[in-house]
Amino acid sequence: MAGRAPGAAPVLPAGLLYLLGRLGQLVPTVLTVSVIAFVLIRLSGDPASLLLTPEATEVERRAFRDAHGLDRSLPVQYLVFLGNLLRGNLGTSFWQHEPALRVVLSRFPATLLLSVTAIVIVIAFGLAVGVVAAMFRGTALDWFVMAGVGLGQSVATFWLGLMLILVFAVFIPLFPPSGYGTPAQLVLPAVTLAAYYVAVTTRLTRSGMLEVLGQDFIRTARAKGLGESATILRHGLRNALIPITTVLGLQIGELLAGAVVTETVFAWPGVGTLVLDAITRRDYPVVQATIVLIALVYALVNLTVDLVYGVLDPRVRVR
């Protein structure tokens, strides 16, 4: 909040203002996404000729256009679309004849379970392995970790998934190769989805820690007799976490979208398999609803990341 005298206002309203300001920033995001979703669907051609059989009469076509508001001008169609969007109405699935949003939301818990599990793996492994690699810089262990990071950033997710199925479900039947419902069925998909992001996070954590550990306050912490683990975690990691959080926030959005691929490999009944089916069936309301929903979740994730940022770095809150 610019222009406010430093230290003059109490903490809570400032925090609340910050939160409201950030929530306000969601508005242009939602508008942009709505325009993208609207334009993309209009680009795909005349829905009447897509959905009606070639034998449909002109009367049937006109009835269809009337029913979907396709006879009005594009700006009017957009405003109608936006108004419906704000009321949570994203049209009716051409395929299932149910509200598109309900179709997408029914698949959302599966995607959420997969993504959240993967994110937990990313944070736990990425941070831990990155810190350890930085502490043992230049050793064989560090080299081994960096080789894994290089491979993890270059491997195709769908191939990794198939190879995990081949090794851990076909050759050594430890886990089921596909399906949804039991914890054992979650293991391979979550690991597959997490792999790339574990590599990115490990790399960032390692380089961030190396940068922080070379600074004066770390030497001070050691000099005042603080134990090594407290120095590393409280002074080192806490400071290294700030840039990591930013990148992680962006990565989580990519991870959500990347779930499409993992879901396809493991026949996971989430939003990803739904949207690919919807594309082949030309079920555009469902495609549209999926894009809007994921973009919205993505914006919310970034908002959360910004708030976490405020907790990690008190300087951010005052600005």
């Binding site: 795909s44 270059s154 198939l162 396809t264 594309i279 994921i294």
Partner: protein, 295 residues
Amino acid sequence: MSPAGPTAAALPSSRVVHAFLRNPLAVSGLALFGFTLLVAVLAPALAPDTYDNQDIMGRLKPPLSRGTDGRVYLLGSDPLGRDMLSRIIYGARASVSVALAGLVIGGGLGSLLGLLAGFGGRGLDALVMRIVDAQLAFPSLLLAIAVIAALGTSLWTLLAVLALRSWAVHARTLRSAVLVIREQESVTAARALGAGPMRVAFKEILPNALAPLIVVATAQLGALILLESTLSFLGIGLQPPAPSWGSMLSSGRPYMTVAWWVAAVPGVAILIAVLGANLLGDGLRDALDPRLKWS
């Protein structure tokens, strides 16, 4: 940016070459990606067979086995009895050329927009950078799927999607390079000598901004190869019978449990190409400008 004059940054100076060659990861990246490029260029000479020659009697032969006509399938054969090795070799051609074309389109447009943003007025700069931020804030795979859903699968759609994935980073990189370079004395001197904005942009700024641009472009290359193979795997990228590594993998997938090679081999090819491009990008970055580390 190298603080030295225009030529020092434009041409690889001996310092840069030396720094690059001393880094074993950079050299192995060059070797891996150079190998991939070579295979792509020489595909017809290297491949023992065409990529679409089917032999129904020689279906799903394991690697190193003999076909009915006595020839050896080095990497096995696929569900239609086509030689995997030949398909992988032609696949290098398909995947690398599509990724490179997407990079040229996206990088060219992005660089032009970055140049405009850095040179044009404040309003233009703000507009371009807003679009860049919006683009970078949208999950790239989701945007790709949305665009393909709207336009249908075709080579042009695929190129558009790849260009869309890569333009924003180029625009941002070139813009920040322009902001730094246009304050340098050589540019002031050129302006004082009467050089117009176009001449300054293309003769003074662009050559000086080449180093960060090369770094960003190489880093994008691996990502584009991955994106192309992912889309082709999902069935919305290159369409069969084009021998894309991604579509080879998805067509081999139903046979995976009886013939592991049809799924394993294309993935190794993707790994080699992408790892090579990534290592090469990192190596170039470290050699040309160590300060670009976070980008």
